[in-house]
C-alpha cells in the first residue's frame, strides 16, 4: 500500500526446544494498517512466532526489523524501547493482580513511559472508556469477567501508543458469550487503522476483516493470501483440508 517499507518485518525466525523444531525459518512482514491473521492447528508455532517477534522468546536464528531498523535483543534499553512500540495481548490476559483496571492501564504510562501521574490517569481513563469499561476502572482483576479482563489488557497495550499489536489467541480462554465484546473492540481498532497480527481460531472474524490469512503448520508457513482465496480455494491440499474442517459444519461465531 504505502511507499515506505513495512512497519514490521521478521526474517527467518527459527526456534528449537530440545529435539523439537518449533519454528522453521519463518518470515513475514506487515504494512501500516494491515491485519494479518495466523491460523493453523495447535502446535503449529503461531504463539511462538508472535513471542519471538517481541523477544519474549529468544529465536535461535532470524532477525526482526521495525520501520526498517533491526532490533538487537542484546541491547537491553533498545529492547525495552522496542517493546513499548509493539503491544502484546495474551490468551490468559496477564493483568497485574495487585492493581485496579485503571492501575493496570496507568502503570505502563507512569513506570515505563515516565509520564506524570495526572496525564497518565487522564489517558488511562480515556483508554478504558474506549474499550467500554469506564465504570469498571476501580475494580481489581479478581472482580472482572474474562471478557472484561481481556478488554483491560487491550486498553493497557493501547495506552503505550504501539505501532503494531500482536494478539495471541485473544479469545481462546473466554466463555463463548464473552467473545463478542472482545471481538467488537478489535473490530474498532481495525477500523481505526491499527496494524495487527492476530493468532486466532475465530475464522469468521478473520475472513471479514483480514488483509491476509497466513496458514501455519509444523513451524512453517504453508500458504498465505487474501481471505477469500485461502478460506475457499486455497492452492495447497493441507490448507483446504484445515479450512474445510473449521468453517463447517457450525460456521464460526461472529
Amino acid at each position: 500500500m504505502a511507499e515506505k517499507g513495512p512497519v514490521l518485518r521478521a526474517e527467518g525466525l527459527s526456534k528449537q526446544y530440545g529435539a523439537r523444531q518449533v519454528l522453521r525459518g519463518v518470515s513475514l512482514s506487515v504494512n501500516e494498517g494491515d491485519l494479518k491473521v495466523l491460523i493453523g492447528p495447535s502446535g503449529a508455532g503461531k504463539s511462538t512466532l508472535l513471542q519471538c517477534i517481541n523477544f519474549l522468546v529468544l529465536p535461535d536464528k532470524g532477525q526482526v526489523f521495525l520501520d526498517g531498523r533491526e532490533i538487537l535483543h542484546t541491547r537491553r534499553k533498545e529492547l525495552c524501547a522496542y517493546r513499548q512500540k509493539v503491544g502484546m495481548i495474551f490468551q490468559d490476559f496477564n493483568l497485574f493482580d495487585h492493581l485496579t483496571a485503571l492501575g493496570n492501564v496507568e502503570i505502563g504510562l507512569t513506570r515505563v513511559r515516565s509520564m506524570k501521574k495526572g496525564a497518565a490517569r487522564e489517558r488511562a481513563v480515556m483508554e478504558l472508556e474506549r474499550v467500554g469499561l469506564g465504570e469498571h476502572a476501580g475494580k481489581y482483576p479478581a472482580q472482572l469477567s474474562g471478557g472484561q479482563k481481556q478488554r483491560v489488557s487491550i486498553a493497557r497495550a493501547l495506552a503505550m501508543d504501539p505501532k503494531v499489536m500482536l494478539l495471541d489467541e485473544p479469545t481462546s480462554a473466554l466463555d463463548p458469550e464473552l467473545i463478542t465484546e472482545v471481538l467488537s473492540v478489535i473490530r474498532n481498532l481495525v477500523s481505526e487503522g491499527m496494524t495487527m497480527i492476530i493468532a486466532t481460531h475465530q475464522i469468521g472474524f478473520a475472513g471479514d476483516l483480514a488483509n491476509e490469512i497466513i496458514f501455519m503448520e509444523d513451524g512453517a508457513i504453508v500458504e498465505q493470501g487474501p481471505p477469500a482465496k485461502i478460506l475457499t480455494r486455497a492452492d495447497c491440499e493441507r490448507t483446504r483440508e484445515f479450512c474445510s474442517k473449521i468453517t463447517s459444519p457450525y460456521g464460526e461465531s461472529r
Binding site: L56, K77, D97, Y140, P141
Partner: protein
C-alpha cells in the same frame, strides 16, 4: 514493707530487662527480615549454585534448634578466636535463625506470583528492575506478610532464650530476682503478662496491617 521492696527493687530490674529485650528484638527483627528477603529472592531467582547455597543455609538454620545455634555463637566461636558478647551473640543468632524462616515465606510469596504477569510486564517494555519494583514487590509483600509477621511474633517470644547464653533480658532479670526471693509465681506471672502484652500488641498491629493492604483476589493467600 514487702510492697515497697517490690517497687524499689523489682520493678527497675524488670524494666531494665525489658529494655534489653526490646534492644534484642528490634535489630533482630529487621536484620532477619532483610536476610529473609535476600535469601528468599536468591532461592527463587538466583543461579543454581547460589540457590543451592541459600537452600543449605535455610536447611541448617531451620533444622538446628535455636538454643544450639546460640551456644555455637557464644561458646563455640571463642575456639576459633572470635569473642562475642552475650548480646551480640544473641542478636546474630536470632537474626540468622529468623532470616531462614522469613526466607521460606518470602520464597513462597515469590513463587505464588503468576508468571504470566512477568510476560505482560516485559511486553510492555518494563526493565527487569522496573518489573521487580512495580509488579513483584507489591504482590510479594502482601503474600509474605502473614508468615513474616508471625515469625516476628515468635521472635518476641524466643528472645527470652538469650538468658541461656547469659544475656540478661526480661526473663533473665526475673530468674535472678525469683531465685533470691523465691517468689517465682508472682515474678513469672508478671513477666508472662509482659510478654503477652508485647505479643498481643504485635499481633494486633499485624492484623491491622494485613487489613489495610488487603486486595480483592489476595484473600485466599492469608492463612
Amino acid at each position: 514493707m514487702e510492697e515497697i521492696f517490690f517497687i524499689q527493687e523489682v520493678v527497675p530490674a524488670l524494666l531494665r530487662g525489658l529494655l534489653v529485650s526490646i534492644q534484642l528484638i528490634i535489630p533482630s527483627a529487621v536484620a532477619g527480615l532483610v536476610i529473609g528477603i535476600g535469601v528468599g529472592g536468591l532461592r527463587v531467582y538466583g543461579q543454581r549454585w547460589v540457590a543451592g547455597l541459600a537452600d543449605g543455609y535455610v536447611a541448617i538454620f531451620r533444622g538446628f534448634p535455636l538454643v544450639v545455634q546460640l551456644f555455637i555463637w557464644y561458646f563455640g566461636l571463642p575456639h576459633i578466636g572470635i569473642y562475642l558478647t552475650p548480646f551480640m551473640a544473641s542478636v546474630i543468632g536470632f537474626s540468622l535463625c529468623s532470616g531462614a524462616y522469613h526466607s521460606e515465606y518470602v520464597r513462597g510469596a515469590f513463587l505464588s506470583i503468576r508468571r504470566g504477569q512477568f510476560h505482560a510486564a516485559q511486553a510492555l517494555g518494563f526493565s527487569r528492575f522496573g518489573m521487580i519494583r512495580s509488579i513483584v514487590l507489591p504482590q510479594a509483600l502482601r503474600l509474605a506478610l502473614p508468615g513474616c509477621g508471625n515469625e516476628i511474633i515468635y521472635l518476641i517470644k524466643y528472645s527470652s532464650l538469650a538468658y541461656m547464653i547469659t544475656c540478661i533480658e526480661l526473663t533473665g532479670e526475673g530468674k535472678i530476682i525469683a531465685s533470691n526471693t523465691f517468689k517465682y509465681m508472682e515474678i513469672f506471672l508478671i513477666i508472662g503478662a509482659a510478654y503477652l502484652i508485647l505479643t498481643s500488641v504485635a499481633g494486633s498491629l499485624l492484623h491491622r496491617l494485613e487489613k489495610r493492604l488487603r486486595l480483592p483476589g489476595f484473600e485466599h493467600y492469608s492463612r
